[in-house]
């Protein structure tokens, strides 16, 4: 059935469907129940699932993430929520020293099948502590899975898939996508967990990206197509697992690659991907792999500075044009 859904609706639907299907799934976080979520993602879920499965917490991020770790070890499937990814630092020990390492440290006895839902990115003039893209912190940490949906269908399916994983998954939404609406058929097949999606295919270069930058890359690809430049746009969907097979094949076919990420450039996701492409596809490359990423600065509250400090469609198109020239 085709319907018009927003990214926000799709996440809410995924949570509701997962909770209906599995009584062990529950949500725990700040303002998730009565308030309905700071970005209205969980609106209405308290009414259906009650306060034992939609647990409103005090402002205690270490406690929220740590409680989810323990509940997952004890056999349930918590979805912990951090209102903003910027608060990940407050809970970092529970996430990186506990959740990420328990399976390994304890010799494989037990896993931590929890999902940490959060949102990041720019677009609301929310300032330096509410606009960051911190996925590199997560991608850097062995033991954590990382999903970042760009499309409405993926907002739904990646979250359902995350809730079937045996290990902790950090699920980062983009705050500027919540109102993004698409015609979707949620019963249509989607790629498996860990597989990237080729959103558009072209002969001249590959743009590898994820989250909101997928939409920007597609916009850029549209502009480029009008000029006769055909770009492939790869939506990674999950950064861990990373579907390098799909990236590699497209790079070998086109010989040019550009990686786009909203997070800061240095030691970021784009750096990792570019290094890997350079190592593994060296013989096929006609140009250096170009990283397009956020400036190496904090995000300003000033809308003008905020917008200029992260990539957009024009920058992507401009760089692509010159890369293939």
């Amino acid at each position: 059935m085709t319907e018009t859904l927003t990214y926000r609706d799709a996440i809410r639907r995924a949570l509701a469907d997962a909770m209906r299907a599995d009584p062990d799934v529950f949500v725990i976080g700040e303002e998730v129940g009565r308030y309905g979520g700071a970005y209205a993602v969980t609106t209405g879920l308290l009414e259906e699932f009650g306060p034992e499965r939609m647990i409103d917490t005090p402002i205690s991020e270490q406690g929220i993430v740590g409680t989810a770790v323990g509940a997952a070890m004890a056999g349930m499937r918590p979805v912990a929520e951090l209102m903003y990814v910027d608060f990940i630092g407050v809970s970092m020990d529970q996430l990186c020293n506990q959740a990420a390492k328990i399976r390994y440290m304890f010799g494989g006895q037990i896993g931590v099948p929890m999902v940490l839902r959060t949102q990041g990115g720019t677009g609301r003039s929310a300032g330096a502590q509410h606009s960051q893209s911190l996925e590199a912190y997560v991608m850097h940490m062995p033991g954590l899975r990382l999903a970042m949906p760009a499309t409405v269908a993926d907002a739904y399916h990646l979250l359902r898939q995350s809730l079937r994983q045996p290990d902790p998954v950090v699920f980062i939404e983009h705050k500027s996508l919540y109102a993004h609406a698409e015609e979707v058929d949620l019963s249509a097949p989607v790629p498996d967990w860990g597989r990237a999606a080729i959103r558009r295919q072209g002969r001249d270069l590959v743009i590898v990206t994820y989250s909101r930058q997928v939409l920007y890359a597609l916009e850029a690809a549209e502009t480029l197509a009008a000029e006769g430049i055909e770009a492939t746009v790869i939506d990674l969907r999950t950064l861990n697992p990373l579907d390098f097979a799909t990236i590699g094949a497209e790079v070998e076919r086109t010989g040019r690659a550009m990686v786009v990420s909203e997070g800061p450039l240095t030691a970021g996701v784009a750096a990792e991907l570019a290094a890997r492409i350079s190592e593994e596809c060296f013989d096929y490359l006609e140009n250096p792999v170009l990283r397009i990423a956020g400036e190496d600065v904090p995000i300003s509250v000033s809308t003008a500075l905020e917008t200029a400090s992260v990539p957009g469609p024009e920058l992507i198109a401009d760089a692509a044009r010159r890369l293939v020239a």
Partner: protein, 341 residues
Amino acid sequence: MTAAASSNTGLEALYRQMRRIRTFEERVGELFVRGESAGSMLHLSIGEESPAVGVCTAMKDGDTFTTHHRGHGIFLARGADPNRMMAEIAGKETGYCRGKGGSMHIADMGLGHLGANAIVGGGVPAVVGAALVAKRRNSGAVSVAFFGDGAMQQGVIYESMNMAALWGLPAVFVCINNQWGMGTRIDQATRATALHERAKAFGLAAETVDGRDVREVHAAAARILDGARAGSPGFLAVDCYRFFGHARKDKSPYRTPEEEDEGRARDPIAFARAALIEGGMAEGAIGAIDDEVAREMDASIDFAIASAAPAMDTMFRDVYAPGEPEPEPLRTRIDRILARD
């Protein structure tokens, strides 16, 4: 209005300071409605004027402080220039932080403001550090952390209070208990609602004061600050009410109108006004204060709107110290790489 001028603690002066805060916050709301604010994450302190004014008038020049995300009023009571504050809230270069920080990140080292914070509890431990230095250097200064009731459930607050007590630092922890943290009422966040008892457990001098009468807040704050200055850190919870939504867009559907009416009836400004009239002040004289304040705050909107947005190249400034190399802009880097062959 300088910090020194704000140390006039007669009721008329306290009333004027509280009125300045309320009118400023109303103008912030107006700035938003006119589409001139940087974003909508604007947390107004209407209803919480007495903790700001009562505590800040007990502070001295040289004292330092940090605030939470609802800190406009506190900084105004410490002598902020409303023009530069409004400009910061609009994300303009004439603002206190050159339009980079915004409503939740206003700071001014000259007035001892070590920074507002958008991380709940994030600004509290800095006060321990500032108090440590004050003690080491014998400066006589106190450092005051302002935060909300919601922050009382963050672990960092307890690490901070414990260290301040352990080392006998001139630190004061002020909890502005407006009863709500977003949509969570204090009794939905904790069973231990007598907040000052927690501080006592660490060995701090601790009190809770009703925020309706700003004079009582001031008196309690003066006691706690005097103690801290003498090396005995303290904690003060001020009971008040968040009159409106959490941020500019929140209509508080999770509260009943009855509760809101009751909360707003605890208005510290109405209370002070009634006390002034009872003390013989003419309504017209109070109205004259209100009018004067309104003109001051209207001007802050005009100033903010007339100010320029920060120049693009300021994006790379102040990531590191002046004179240090700035981060290379992405476009420069791309030009360099693609020009290579």
